[in-house]
């Protein structure tokens, strides 16, 4: 699913300004009211936790099951009746998979490389464009921004035929470029939207002061705006990277047939498509492959959520 254009979280730009403003006494009573509102009865707690448990079970079931499978020996896996818990569970699959999926390291490195390259391209395109949209009231700004956002409505699948011909003409077929170049294009719109929103919050006076001091426009962008916008640029970089890592499939499936360039999802898909799938190893490999992202979200979830979802009610 494409990550859609949303605004940066208010909280990022204006940390905790609502609490600081009120005088101490008033804040205390507000706090008391809040505490009372947030008080639940025991059956409300029960209902909420039960609901959350069901919801999270749906969200996490495939991961839990996948992890259980990765621990089961193959003989236990293909046995009936079904048992959820791995009997004689072991981490064997995590060691044997390196041999049975020969290119595994290569796939992970390819995935990281393709995502990184796409992120770099996106940033090079997006930083100046977002600044232009945020600052300059040039003619046609609205329609042009809308046109960029409209890119989000096409997936790569719709444009696959001409893209295939284009990649062939450029000589990109069966190279990393065939996966990087089209992938990056579909990440640009959301990144522009996100960064533009961030840059609009940078006080205009800063540009004007630099202008009065005789700095050129380009110098102002490089020396005044870029350093201040760094937190926003980092958020855009992270979300773009995760988007690029999550969506590697169709271009890699269609434009590249060389094993040594395959990203992780395609590498594992080839393995998945075989007659006899060694499921415990496939699941073990999947877990190793997603670990980098899982670690990332634990540390960066605040920025991810801020970057991707806030501003739902921006009026």
């Amino acid at each position: 699913m494409t990550v859609q254009p949303l605004d940066l979280d208010e909280k990022m730009a204006h940390p905790a300004d609502d609490a600081a403003a009120a005088p101490v006494v008033a804040r205390k009573s507000v706090k008391a009211t809040r505490a009372m509102i947030d008080r639940y009865t025991w059956y409300e707690y029960l209902a909420i936790y039960a609901g959350i448990a069901v919801f999270l079970f749906f969200v996490l079931a495939p991961f839990i099951e996948g992890f259980m499978v990765s621990l089961k020996p193959l003989s236990r896996l293909f046995s009936t009746p079904y048992s959820f818990w791995p009997e004689n569970g072991s981490l064997t699959a995590y060691f044997t998979m390196w041999e049975s999926v020969p290119g595994f390291w290569r796939y992970i490195v390819n995935s990281l490389f393709i995502s990184t390259a796409a992120t770099v391209i996106v940033l090079i395109m997006v930083v100046p464009a977002a600044y232009a949209f945020a600052r300059f009231p040039f003619p046609g700004r609205g329609p042009l921004l809308a046109a960029f956002l409209a890119v989000n409505m096409f997936s790569g699948a719709v444009l696959l035929i001409p893209l295939f011909r284009l990649m062939r003409q450029l000589g990109f077929l069966n190279t990393y470029w065939a996966m990087i170049v089209p992938g990056a294009a579909f990440l640009i719109p959301s990144a522009i939207w996100l960064l533009r929103t961030y840059m609009m919050r940078i006080p205009r006076e800063l540009d004007e002061a630099a202008w009065v001091d005789g700095a050129s426009r380009f110098y102002t962008l490089r020396r005044v705006i870029l350093p201040i916008a760094m937190p926003g640029i980092s958020v855009v970089a992270i979300t773009t990277f995760i988007g690029a890592y999550a969506q590697q499939f169709i271009f890699a499936l269609t434009f590249n047939s060389k094993t040594e360039f395959m990203p992780l999802p395609i590498g594992l898909f080839a393995y998945f498509g075989r007659q006899e799938v060694v499921w415990n190893e496939l699941m073990a490999a999947s877990f190793v492959g997603i670990t980098p992202v899982l670690i990332l979200i634990v540390f960066l979830q605040r920025y991810l959520v801020a970057g991707l979802t806030a501003g739902a009610v921006k009026t």
Binding site: V3, L6, E10, T33, M36, Y40, I52, F55, L56, P62, F63, G66, V69, F78, T80, P81, Y82, I121, P128, A129, Y131, A132, F136, P137, F138, L144, F148, L149, M153, F154, V158, L159, L160, I161, P162, L166, P182, A184, F186, I188, F218, Y245, A246, Q247, Q248, T254, P265, L268, F272, S286, G289, I290, V293, I297, Q301, V305, A310, A312, V313, T315
Partner: protein
Amino acid sequence: MTGSRSASLFAFALLTPALLYILGIVAYPLVDTINLSFTNAALKPAYDWVGWANYEKIFKANFSEVIIRTVVWTFFSVSIKMIIGTFGAVLLNAAVPGRALFRILTMPPWVVPMAIGIFMWGWMYNGQFGMISGLLQNFGIVDGPVAWLAYGNTAFWATIVTDVWIGVPLVTIYLLAAMQSIPRDLYEAAWTDGAGRFYRFRRITMPMIIPAMVTMSLLSLIATFNSFDIIWILTRGGPSGSTTTMIIDTYKTAIGSYKYGEGAARAVMICLFLSVFCLAYFRVVGKINTGERA
């Protein structure tokens, strides 16, 4: 410094790289798709203009069936995503201990490489050894193994469930953000006046998140209509075409059997649908941004 001609020129200069990139990788292929849809292009380099022949051909074949299937598939997937996502957002918005952790735990399906999540579903749907069939048998709900992906009907729903699973985190977190940006004063005032929890939800939360729900439904509609990976990995459009949506159909025609012209005609039909959704999106977002309620 603003408003001058040199400022506009500078802005265009800044936009040029991104603009050229999108023109080359998205706009040109789009025009080329329309162009190809009127030709009999295939593997061989030379091809001829054939007018509307491709369109006549696909509608004489089973294309209307594919359109209906796609619309039904998309409708159920988006509706279920919105329902589960709204429930999830309400639950995660409750001020209970542990909610920060619950919010993190919602995210994996969305950030993990899609294909890998789908592999795990592929195993869960396995009839002999998979979790769903296994648990249902253990609880005595079904008698024998059910191979979910082997029959048209169950495969259709199985792919919807997986699509819902991938889409739910974004809907949930988006609506949660919308709920959290509702001013607390509203709730406090209502609470002071003696309004109960459900009354506050119905009269404050719901009206305030409706614009976000409309926006999210449309974004979700566009993404779901374009859904390729899930169906391709789980069923490749089968069994016997029962999960062949317009995207899968286009891919099979163009990449599977090298009928570029015919495939392009099918892609153009997808674009027509998408432009309608897209226009709706811009209308709604425009309305929200100018302050009207959608």
